[in-house]
């Protein structure tokens, strides 16, 4: 073992109280840094997943007057051949409609879907509270709130009127709950062919909804750009979730910046704490360092003693800090709960982030030791010898 390391260990051991205090100081700083980092990451992840989890990432819309797209098979083939990052594609025909009851009418959004495709985006099957998905034409599933308003149940029939006056009755095969009231109140999900014949739009759709691979969510804008070849056909518009959620995104980046600020200031205070304690340690051990120099220890070895002390304190403090941070995060998920028992924020326990924080603790402590190390290197043994 390097003699400087051995001396550093002995110095730390000889002042156990001081060593424990400073290690705890580092640990608390790192645990706060780890906790805040995990909290913000978790918060952002859950915000993003509520925003993009069960919704379209990239949508192709029509800009023509009737808002309809003909020959959509061509578009689907184009997407498939062009972009492997787009994993889910669902053609949709959306049109407004009404359901009349007594003297008032509920306005609804009739959505003609290919259920096999749409289920991949909206996860409808798992969010059915009763019944099953429509299989035949003129079967429908409606949202929980609409069901309550209309006071209907699975198996009942309801009549839909279109703005142009066409009427059609649908049989309810199931009730869904997509957790958003406006959707639960207005969405009227039926098969694509039923919607096409109801609105006299055979072979046409109003939009194509797509989801990209979950690792590529933030590349949705560039992916949508790579589909720009579709514009040659004219009458089409491609949008993506980032365009539609600019406020959310700027909020998130603001949050990230403030989280980094907090983390940086925590680290700075840790560095200052270690630097001052180690500077005191040089004073306390000046007699020892002086006699070591009289015995011929080189200045570089003398400064390494302090660097090793910083390094060891960083490892100790970092390790304790990560354990504390995990404890904080864990108790936060246990105690901070929504009324329904789910955690307020699902924290992200990211091993890479923890490893990074540990590295930061060790690096910060070593850097903090630089000034005292210089002091130790410059200590003149004659001062110690002469003054006893």
């Amino acid at each position: 073992m390097d003699i400087s390391l051995k001396i550093a260990v002995r110095f730390l051991k000889s002042n156990k109280g001081q060593t424990i205090l400073i290690a705890l100081g580092i640990a608390i700083g790192i645990s706060v840094q780890v906790f805040i980092g995990s909290l913000i990451q978790g918060l952002q992840k859950s915000l993003i997943s509520t925003t993009v989890g069960n919704s379209s990432h990239i949508t192709i819309l029509s800009t023509t007057d009737d808002k309809l797209i003909k020959d959509y098979e061509w578009i689907l083939n184009y997407i498939e051949s062009k972009e492997s990052r787009i994993t889910k594609v669902s053609p949709v025909l959306d049109k407004p409609g009404f359901i009349n009851r007594d003297k008032k009418a509920d306005s609804i959004l009739v959505r003609g879907l290919v259920f096999d495709d749409a289920d991949k985006i909206y996860d409808i099957k798992n969010r059915l509270v009763e019944g099953s998905l429509p299989k035949k034409d003129y079967e429908v599933i409606i949202g929980r709130d609409l069901q309550k308003d209309l006071d209907v149940k699975t198996g009942d029939r309801i009549v839909v009127t279109t703005p142009s006056g066409a009427r059609q009755d649908f049989r309810i095969t199931g009730i869904f709950d997509l957790k958003v009231q406006s959707i639960n109140k207005t969405w009227f999900l039926t098969t694509l062919s039923s919607a096409q014949s109801l609105f006299g739009a055979n072979g046409k759709i109003s939009s194509v909804e797509m989801q990209v691979d979950s690792s590529q969510v933030f590349a949705a804008d560039s992916i949508s750009k790579s589909l720009s070849g579709l514009n040659s056909k004219g009458g089409l518009k491609i949008t993506n979730w980032k365009e539609q959620n600019e406020q959310l995104l700027s909020g998130l980046s603001g949050q990230s910046v403030s989280s980094y600020m907090i983390q940086i200031f925590v680290i700075i205070s840790v560095v200052l704490g270690i630097a001052s304690v180690l500077a005191i340690s040089v004073m306390q051990k000046s007699k020892q360092i002086g006699i070591l120099k009289a015995m011929g220890i080189r200045n570089s070895q003398a400064s390494r003693i302090l660097l090793y002390q910083g390094f060891i304190l960083g490892i100790l403090g970092g390790a304790i800090g990560i354990v504390l941070g995990l404890g904080l995060a864990y108790s936060f998920t246990i105690f901070a709960k929504n009324p329904d028992g789910t955690p307020v924020v699902a924290l992200t326990i990211d091993p890479a982030f923890f490893a990074f924080s540990f590295f930061i603790a060790v690096a910060a402590s070593s850097i903090a030791a630089l000034i005292p190390a210089r002091k130790s290197s410059r200590l003149d043994p004659i001062e110690v010898i002469r003054n006893g």
Binding site: R10, L292, M295
Partner: protein, 228 residues
């Protein structure tokens, strides 16, 4: 006989604004294997002279030659190496490292010099501990030793790298007369066994009279130089 240590025209001035000259044109040489005492009033400059001999302090003017090598202009790294290999120090306040055991303190100069611990060097350190009569307490921490034991440990430590010169500044200064006698006998024995040169500052006339040569320093000058 060869001179192991030679001081030429050594002057030492302290202070930049208020200048105090401590040493005036000191010229002296020490023979290899000799046993020397330096005596003088406190404040006469004898400790400064010893520290200059040991490269801990630098002269304002003049030259120190150790084993024929001038120390003027050497890097701090080179000076550290000379202190480690060629010189052993024993101070009045013995300065053991309280964080280490007596044996570890004795091994310290060897470890500082970059040596790896092995059975051979451990046995050598233990032999020195036996030589200074501390084989029973060598695993004790420095703080658990008496003053005399600490001083004898410091002597064993100074011996470990087989230095050419041992510089001792009042090594018996705070010891009782029995311990003083024991430490002196020990140093004399080492001098005779290993041929190590000793330069000892002492205020104890009885000790000084037993040495080969007595130098007296008065107000920064050598006022007396007696070979016995």
């Amino acid at each position: 006989m060869d001179d192991i240590l030679r001081l030429k025209d050594i002057n030492k001035i302290y202070g930049t604004n208020v200048k105090t000259q401590v040493l005036f044109d000191v010229n002296v040489a020490f023979e290899k294997g000799s046993f020397n005492a330096i005596i003088g009033q406190s404040g006469s400059g004898k400790s400064t002279l010893l520290n200059i001999m040991g490269t801990l302090d630098t002269p304002t003017a003049g030259e120190v030659k150790i084993n024929g090598v001038s120390t003027t202009g050497l890097t701090s790294k080179k000076l550290a190496e000379i202190r480690n290999k060629n010189i052993g120090f024993v101070f009045q306040f013995h300065y053991l490292l309280p964080e280490f055991t007596a044996l570890e303190n004795v091994l310290m100069p060897y470890r500082i010099g970059g040596g790896r611990l092995n059975r051979e060097i451990r046995d050598k350190a233990k032999d020195f501990m036996t030589l200074v009569g501390l084989e029973k307490v060598m695993q004790n921490y420095a703080t658990q030793l008496s003053g005399g034991q600490q001083q004898r440990t410091a002597i064993a430590r100074a011996l470990l790298n087989a230095p050419d010169i041992i510089l001792a500044d009042e090594p018996t200064g705070n010891l009782d007369s029995v311990s003083t006698e024991a430490v002196y006998e020990l140093m004399r024995k080492i001098n005779q066994t290993y041929g190590t040169t000793f330069i000892i500052i002492t205020h104890d006339r009885r000790i000084a009279e037993k040495t080969d040569r007595i130098l007296e320093i008065t107000d920064g000058r050598i006022s007396m130089d007696i070979h016995s």
